[in-house]
Symmetry: C2
Subunit: 92 residues, 2 copies
DNA sequence: TTAGTTTATTATAATATTATAATAAACTAA
DNA sequence: TTAGTTTATTATAATATTATAATAAACTAA
């Protein structure tokens, strides 16, 4: 049971686009249109990844004028990614 | 590119059976037959998960008499899991 | 209102992952 | 050798994930 929850969380982090989303939100809010160019996927696909991250409580969003902006809600998610990245630079 | 590698690694950890395998190997070697009862999946399925973990360099194995025993090769994998687990106990 | 902009949703095809069943492979021990 | 034990592999069906295309929804600003 505990393994299911942990696995589910790691699985959500285990996608390159979602990792790009999280690392590009490291320093605060970004609207969807900006994320689109940073992450380099279609608006539709991006929106789906954002929802996956939001549903897991990793992101939150708010409207700012004409745009909707996302930011990191659970900083730990980013920490896991950073930690995993560190292992690879150490490994080679 | 870097994201792909990190994502690939996290994806491998994002499965309950593979998490069970890793946590049950925390203190050293275990042969496949023992893992089978701990993890609670069929021998065939277990063997496939072991191969996935071995191919990623997370596990290694050696023959001990009639059995084949696995142990953790990349301790960092377990650290990631422990870290993720910790987040949930903190969260609630 | 209406046109335009931004984001979300839905349906779906393509692909990847997983578990099962059957069998093969690699041994050991008699 | 041969029988028995342990583990790996293969084929495949079931399921999950992903990206695309089309469209809807939610706004803003004129």
């Amino acid at each position: 049971m505990r393994e299911e929850i942990t696995a589910d969380f790691l699985k959500v982090l285990g996608h390159p686009s979602r990792i790009k989303i999280l690392t590009s939100l490291e320093n605060g809010y970004k609207c969807v249109r900006d994320l689109e160019s940073v992450v380099g996927i279609t608006q539709s696909n991006l929106s789906q990844h954002l929802r996956i991250l939001k549903d897991k409580g990793i992101l939150e969003h708010e409207r700012r004028g004409t745009e909707i902006c996302y930011r990191i809600r659970d900083r730990n998610a980013l920490d896991i990614i950073r930690f995993a990245e560190k292992l690879f630079t150490e490994r080679g």
